[in-house]
Amino acid sequence: MSHKIIVPIGPYHPLQEEPEFFQLYVEGEKVVDIDIIIGYNHRGIEKLSESKHFDQVPFLVERICGICSSSHPYAYVLAVENILGGEFNIVPEKSLFIRTIIDELQRIHSHLLWLGLVGHFIGYNTVWMWAWKFREPVLDMFEMVTGNRNNYAMFKVGGVRRDIKDDDIPQIKKMLDELLPGIDLFHGAIMDDPIIKMRLKDVGRLTRQQAIEWAVVGPTARASGVNIDIRRDEPYGSSDRLDWKVIIEKDGDIFCKTVVRILELYESISLIRQCLDKMPKSGIIDADIKDIPVGEGIGRVEAPRGECFHYIVSDGTNRPLRHKIRSPSFMNVASDKVAAVGGTISDATLTLAAVDPCYCCTERVAVINKSDNSKIMNGWDLIKLSQDKTLKLKESYYGRSK
């Protein structure tokens, strides 16, 4: 197969978080092969980190991704705290709860964003707009607690940077309560709407065996029946003291991925509520760590997309000697190679989006006609194709008049 580079068509978005370029090879309607080309946004953060003070690195890794921008700093501080003797041994009690609250709030806003995009891709623009509407109060909560809507700058080695004020807690609880009916709405829409079910069921399936072979993580793995969740397997923050459950589905298609994410929203809201109730009313939030000893440490957290992994080597100076970062999408996006092949073009964008990469990625899709390697479609055409398929399903289900 030739690996021709094709200039991506579509609007270039300066804020896109993970630009990937997918080349789909098609025969008729069927996708027979796929090339995934990444690296458009490689910023050399691992190398950059080696020139930063241990205290500066959280700000740097926060900027790896704007959507899960607390997962990377959290995994990093866990890695450094691993060198120092473990999170539970050095971080003050109250900080553990604040860390979990930030981590779960971020999961809510990331999952809502994904849900909205799936709605958009299948032509349910109402779902899209709902998701944006309900995501907004989550960002407001972030602003209230951290001062920022994104890039929260909350994590530091040995604690957190800002306290959650007692006065804010009733307001946060009220906003969480208001969020619940919104999520019920999604739950109802996805579970009960026959068209959405027809459109998502058996599409882009990743079997359990494939999920293990490709070593995928997070909701992508859990939808395929792989029982992993770092929050339970290797507890961090206050996740071991709270009452919650890991959501597992079996079939591995996009419907299951959607269900996993929706049900996780409920769990996240419950986790934040419990944290607010159990959090100590007063106490220090920072252990005031000055020096990092020689050693190596590994930290990992369950980011909204799966396990986020950081490995740090310290040589006793004030900078890391080596900082390895593995984000969850690195494993999940690679698995598109099996999930998308064999499906139709109209399902392709949906399948590629189902692992939850950034939506702008799909604007970099080009479809190549296998016979003469000519480019026939770009990202927007594919979204249109996907929306048309839903429309046809609707017409055949409800009859033309509706």
């Binding site: 690996h3 580079i5 990444i38 690296g39 490689h42 050399g44 691992e46 190398k47 691993n82 003797g85 473990g86 293990i212 072979e213 490709w214 070593a215 995928v216 029982n227 992993i228 770092i230 397997d233 290797e234 507890p235 050693g295 190596e296 440490g297 590994i298 990992r300 396990e307 992994f309 490995y311 080597v313 000697l321 080596r322 390895k324 593995r326 690195f330 494993m331 690679a334 698995s335 190679k337």
Partner: protein, 142 residues
Amino acid sequence: MEMRDRIKEKLQDKIKDWREVSTKRIYFSLDKKDILKTTEILLKNLELRFITASAVELPHGFELLYHFSNDPSGEIYTVRLLLDDKLKPEVASISPLFPGGEWIEREIWEMFGINFIGHPNLKKLLLADEWPQGDYPMRNKK
């Protein structure tokens, strides 16, 4: 039987330097010729999950670390390999065993210049195709 005992039993004298840095972080070294067999045992027999691999540049060579997760217990087992030939570092690829290892080996190959023998598709992952040959961005510049 605990996973650490099962690993010791399966690998026996292949393990060189067993270190338990903390309760859930276990590191051990191997001879580089044993990596393929060991990875097969860890993934297929013991059902560990491959997380990723890290390369570290040393003054006299490179160190490769393969991180495996035992999800039921939350432990991470890290296999260390020392590649002591700084001019021509190479090691057997683990990608033929499972496709999830392909990308990280491509990344280490282009960033550190470590050759993975037997990799099914060893080409640039993050760098542009026009990137000059022999210029490895993650290596320390003199």
